[in-house]
């Protein structure tokens, strides 16, 4: 019996006064893999960032709990220590801070003072995890994400996830920009972490990733809400038929949320070089 219970209820969030999430409900238990699919601009990534506590997203209503604890009351770092992990679509590059120093700080932040992980144990763990994800051991001493290719960054996110042992893993478009080999490596890394003690929320644009990580539940997001939930067969249907049928069924014309509809205008007031 799993002891992980992650619940999002009626979550509304806005960015700069614009409401993007209009009441999202999801419940994830340990051992489950949930996928959120949907076209661009429907609020998927906003959901991930709002759950993690990105300062730009303001939660206006609803609740998020992890094993009964109120996540919305927590700072970003507290959420992480409580067991949330977000593998980001665009991880930051931080010069001067090595991958190893960063991860060791993150691990030690979960341990009490005086109980820090020993350097040798840490290095061994890190090497082991890097090996599984086919990451060159040299990356340990590289600056965090600096100069990493898109695929290297994504693998580095999975590396962090593997080492930090979270209870709820949220993967935000982890498949974007990955070639098929890198995708398999990332999927293997995720599959290896599947356990009764852990739940996953996988946000993706394409069904492709779900060929390698089979979800238990599939949700479709449009207009800042989950508009349809189902099993893996829902993902398959979306892959085959696209989103149009669903939009028709639901009577949705524009599935996006909070997008500017302004037409592109040629900027006329720039100063061109004079010859």
């Amino acid at each position: 019996m799993s002891n992980v219970q992650f619940t999002i209820q009626g979550l509304k969030a806005q960015v700069e006064g614009k409401e993007i999430l209009k009441g999202v409900d999801i419940e994830i238990k340990g051992g489950e893999i949930h996928a959120i699919m949907g076209p661009n601009g429907t609020g998927k990534s906003t959901l991930a960032s709002a759950v993690m506590g990105h300062p730009v997203y303001e939660v206006t209503d609803g609740s998020i709990t992890l094993n009964g604890e109120d996540v919305l009351e927590m700072e970003v770092d507290e959420r992480a220590r409580a067991g949330l992990f977000l593998a980001m679509q665009y991880p930051s590059e931080i010069a001067g801070v090595t991958n190893a120093d960063f991860l060791r700080s993150a691990i030690n932040a979960r341990r009490s003072e005086g109980d820090e992980i020993s350097l040798i144990k840490f290095i061994r763990q890190m090497e082991g995890s890097m090996n599984k994800l086919s990451i060159d051991p040299q990356f340990m001493h590289r600056y965090l994400n600096e100069g990493f290719s898109g695929g290297e960054k994504k693998r580095n996110e999975i590396l962090q996830m593997a080492m930090l042992d979270p209870k709820i893993c949220i993967l935000d478009e982890i498949d974007s920009g990955l070639d098929i080999d890198a995708l398999k490596i990332v999927a293997d890394g995720v599959n290896e972490m599947r356990s009764e003690e852990r739940g996953f929320l996988i946000i993706t644009h394409y069904q492709r990733l779900l060929n390698y990580i089979s979800p238990d539940f599939v949700h479709v997001m449009m207009q800042g809400r989950i508009v349809r939930s189902g099993g893996p067969e829902l993902a398959q249907r979306l892959e085959n038929d696209g989103y149009e049928w669903l939009k028709e069924e639901l009577g949705i014309e524009d599935e996006t949320v909070g997008q500017e509809t302004e037409e592109f205008q040629m900027p006329m007031n720039t100063t061109a070089p004079k010859y």
Partner: protein, 434 residues
């Protein structure tokens, strides 16, 4: 009739000090001429910095030191600043004069001279006369002129042809008496094909009133020589630090500068490499942390004359409280320096809304066939980086620290003596933790 400038020194006191030290005639003459110049010349014109409002007069007077023969006998305040291990060659200066030196016999066998300046002017007068105030000249402005007139202490390094000095030459300059002058002169002459690393530490402790530290560093790197110069300054709030450092880099020679400016008071730091020879190269790495209301004017400069000469300059400043930093990077490529290449980066990280930072990259190029680049930025701790680190469980404070240390890492990690690198880290920590 010219306006008489009131100088913080006079002929009699300078002559008295020179005589007491047994200085040769040429040096006394040079000092007298420099003093006269000091009366006529203006203060240096610094970019966006009102140096005339700084404490510029508290030079103190020359005071003889009390030499000791054993490290044990050094005052406690000095002892705690000494390198913990790896003491190979060390000179300690307290206030105006050297009080301790340990130099292995190996060095003298190689013909290397490493000695305090007072000894050098007596024992190596001719050698000194060729180079002293030849790289930095008294004629430049009032600060260099005054330095030539009143400087006491410092060190002289001479490395003969093709000699490689394995261990770094180390020096510690400490001031604890504001009535004593504290304006050392450092002269390093590296003959053809030689290789030497010099590392020093300039510190004040327990000063009761204000003081001016007017120091000059001159480096002469002869063809194919390599000189690495590293310094960490930690002078108190009441000390005005005026440091002029300059190297002449001859053919295929190389000079590397590593500077840690950890002062609490106002500071003018001007460091120049003159790439005179073809194929010469230089590297500048500077970090500073500004706190309180201190004002920093940090200049790195590379002047290319030689063909295929290359220079690289990095300055990183972290600014807190109401401190101000004007960070100038100047790459000057003279006509004829074909194939020259210069890169520079100035970055300022602002930790407080009241802090001020200016990064001024300047490329002054008078030759066509060259490549040069610059990058400059002034900004705050990146919010996305902070969020990213916190999303892994690292607290905001710790994440901020990691980002700041990361920002300074390219310089801190380059200090060639481990004990000084640790000291620098410690002082960075102290300045950031206040």
């Amino acid at each position: 009739m010219t306006t008489e400038t009131l100088l913080p020194a006079n002929r009699d006191s300078i002559q008295a000090a020179s005589k007491a030290n047994g200085e040769p005639e040429w040096l006394i003459n040079l000092r007298m001429r420099a003093l006269e110049l000091a009366g006529q010349l203006e203060l240096p014109k610094l970019e966006k910095t009102r140096i005339d409002r700084w404490q510029m007069d508290a030079y103190g007077v020359n005071k003889a030191g009390q030499p000791v023969t054993e490290l044990e006998e050094l005052p406690e305040t000095v002892k705690e600043l000494l390198p913990q291990s790896d003491i190979g060659h060390l000179i300690v200066q307290r206030n105006s004069a050297a009080i301790y030196a340990t130099i292995s016999e190996e060095l003298s066998k190689q013909g290397v001279i490493y000695t305090d300046m007072a000894t050098a002017v007596r024992d190596h007068s001719e050698l000194l006369q060729q180079h002293f105030m030849s790289v930095v000249k008294p004629e430049e402005h009032r600060v260099t002129a005054l330095h030539a007139a009143v400087c006491q202490g410092g060190v002289f390094v001479y490395v003969p042809k093709n000699v490689r000095v394995e261990l770094p030459l180390q020096a510690l300059y400490i001031t604890d008496d504001a009535a004593a002058s504290f304006s050392p002169h450092i002269l390093i002459v590296a003959e053809q094909g030689s290789d030497v690393t010099y590392v020093d530490n300039v510190v004040s402790t327990g000063l009761r009133s204000e003081l001016v530290h007017n120091a000059v560093v001159e480096i002469v790197a002869k063809p194919s020589a390599t000189v690495r110069f590293a310094t960490v300054h930690r002078l108190d709030k009441g000390v005005t630090d005026l440091s002029t450092r300059r190297a002449i880099v001859e053919q295929d020679a190389r000079v590397e500068w590593i500077l840690g400016e950890m002062n609490d008071g106002n500071c003018m730091s001007d460091t120049t490499s003159i790439l005179k020879g073809n194929g010469s190269s230089s590297d500048h790495k500077v970090i500073c942390v500004g706190t309180g209301d201190q004002k920093l004017n940090i200049t790195t400069r590379a002047v290319h004359f030689g063909r295929q000469s290359t220079s690289d300059m990095i300055t990183r400043a972290v600014m807190r409280d109401e401190s101000t930093a004007i960070v100038n990077g100047i790459t000057k490529i003279e006509k004829g320096a074909t194939g020259a290449h210069g890169e520079q980066t100035e970055r300022v990280l602002m930790l407080s809304p009241k802090a001020r930072g200016d990064a001024n990259p300047m490329l002054l190029i008078d030759e066509d066939e060259v490549t040069a680049g610059h990058a400059a930025s002034v900004g705050q701790v990146n919010k996305d980086q902070l969020y990213y680190m916190m999303s892994r469980g690292i607290s905001e404070d710790q994440a901020t620290r990691l980002i700041i240390y990361g920002f300074l890492a390219p310089v801190v990690s380059e200090i060639p003596v481990e004990s000084l690198e640790n000291k620098l880290s410690e002082w960075v920590e102290r300045k950031l933790g206040q």
